[in-house]
């Protein structure tokens, strides 16, 4: 018994120790350190995430809390322009809201929608893709024709249609994003599944007699996961943009919870009366977020996608 425990402990211990070590000395990390795009991309992404996470503790106002907003602060330009206030570095809008604070709070909403939308869309898409690719036949035909039909419409058109139908709201946006986003997952995962399915290690599990559910979840899914990660990074960026567009058009988040797109919309009304900062800064911030995420996504795609190697 003693010996048994020892062997199993030895198995466990050595595995955990070596995992981090092998990861740190892996080719992935080696290439990461030599890729300026990857480093810039991850720095931007980390800064953006940190800002959204802890930024609200440092802002001068809470833009959702009317009591912290003073109408007399309205129409202040950015601090470096004459008439600016050093409290409001990026200026204020027509209601006296600090643009910087609004951006920090708005980016939270944008990021949450981007990440959660990706998560839900991926769960639906991955499941359908796995089923479609593994079983083939009629199920496959049905799912893929559904995908084809959906892809024959512009994504934005479907999203707009859904949002007019559902009405504003974060939950509704997530549903809309899921409904437009699953297709890419389903198609990618199906393609990968078809490749993996032909591998001899899948045949080996069938020779053993494992049930299909186990084969799919334990043997197929882990082997298509890298392409899911790559797709997800890019998807987060594109969902943030979709949400921004919807909100800009007034079909997205409710007015009480302004996302970055909503802020742009706000400022758009006063853009021609000289208050350019209200709209431009949130817009630039969206660009920065998506740029950072896409840089990271590009690196991951080059590194993790075995087909490109």
């Amino acid at each position: 018994m003693q010996v048994q425990v020892k062997t199993s402990n030895a198995l466990k211990g050595s595995a955990e120790n070596s995992k981090l070590k092998t990861f740190l000395s892996s080719e992935f990390i080696y290439n990461y350190k030599r890729s300026p795009t990857a480093i810039i991309g991850s720095i931007i992404t980390i800064v953006v995430l940190l800002t959204a996470l802890i930024g609200p503790f440092f802002t001068v106002q809470n833009p959702y809390d009317m009591s912290t907003i003073d109408l007399s602060d309205a129409y202040k330009p950015p601090a470096w322009i004459e008439g600016g206030d050093s409290n409001f570095i990026l200026g204020t809008d027509q209601q006296g809201r600090d643009i910087l604070s609004a951006i920090v709070y708005g980016s939270r909403i944008s990021l949450i929608i981007g990440v959660a939308g990706t998560l839900f869309a991926s769960i639906i898409g991955i499941t359908l893709g796995l089923v479609s690719g593994y079983f083939g036949g009629r199920v496959d035909a049905l799912i893929m024709r559904m995908a084809d039909i959906q892809l024959s419409f512009p994504t934005m058109l479907i999203a707009l249609f859904l949002m007019t139908f559902f009405g504003r709201g974060i939950g509704n946006i997530l549903i809309a994003l899921c409904l437009v986003g699953w297709v890419r997952y389903a198609r990618t995962v199906r393609g990968e599944t078809l490749t993996v399915k032909k591998k001899e290690y899948i045949e080996a599990t069938r020779v053993i007699g494992l049930p299909n559910f186990k084969i799919i979840s334990k043997h197929v899914l882990p082997n298509v996961f890298t392409s899911i990660i790559v797709l997800s990074t890019i998807q987060v960026g594109s969902f943030i943009l979709t949400e921004a567009t919807l909100s800009f058009l007034g079909l997205g988040v409710p007015v009480t919870r302004p996302s970055l797109g909503m802020l742009c919309n706000n400022g758009f009304k006063v853009l021609y009366s000289g208050l350019w900062w209200v709209s431009i800064f949130p817009g630039l911030y969206i660009m920065l977020i998506v740029f950072g995420i896409n840089l990271l996504g590009d690196f991951l795609r080059d590194e993790l996608n075995p087909k490109l190697k």
């Binding site: 062997t7 591998k199 882990p222």
Partner: protein, 331 residues
Amino acid sequence: MEKILSVNNLEQKFDLNRGILDKIKFRNGRFIKEERIVNAVNDISFDIKQREVFSLVGESGCGKSTTARTIIKLIEPKGGTVKFKGNNITNISGNEMLKYRKKMQMIFQDPYASLNPRQKVIDILVEPMLFHKVANNLQEAREKALDILEKVGLRPEQATRYPHQFSGGQRQRIGIARALAVEPEFIIADEPVSALDVSIQAQILNLLMELKDEFNFSYLFIAHDLSVVKHISDNLGVMYLGKIVEKGSKEHIFNNSLHPYTKALFSAIPRLSGTNLRKSKGIEGEIPSPISLPSGCFFHERCPYMKPICREVMPEEKEVEKDHFVLCHLY
């Protein structure tokens, strides 16, 4: 000796047209319905006795791997019967098949594709053990797995590594270990050494033979390399275009080969003596497409001894001497 496996009139076909729409083709101004069926295995029969190594040998596209996959029911047979220890397993359901799955296992060709890259070696072995209840709990399964790894020549500390940390030969050892995990009686080895370097190939062949002596396995060995087949088998069948053209004991085939295709195979092998290619005539042409099979004997287009009848009639299997069968009009 008792038969462990008997295959009778086995057939396997694949329809290349996936739907009805694929079948309709536009040719010369008309729509025609075109069937594109690959006749991979055409009516073959053989028996494997207990503790025997039976080999199927032939060139690529002759249907030997398809035969193996049909026997182990990775693909459903289109005709004929497969009996395992007297039980007909041809058309039984997946659940009924489970108890036979435990008894028959497979070793694959490509050591780089046959192991799940995301699974540790120990998990590759433990999973089938627990599934088939060869071990009662994880602890016992791990103990057994380490034992098996030692038998195939791997060290216990290598058990927690992932497949990519091993060389081709070591991976093939892991593949063999996985087949052993459920304690089978019959193993199908599909070209287990053809992807390996010669020095490693010899190690794996020796290992397979040692394991056979230790566990009393029977093997169905699929190979294209006649010298490997000669080394390992007791009986063998030579396949050409989905047919067994000659079958018999090792002595029959290697000392008294009768079928013109078998002879052609022998004359094509490069030898260390360095004189074979210069002397031999070899055969012309290449294997015809299994989609449109030739009429008569499948080999007649390449056969140096072709007679008029060969073009018309498929020869019957003839027992030329005891247990030595040939499919040829010459005999």
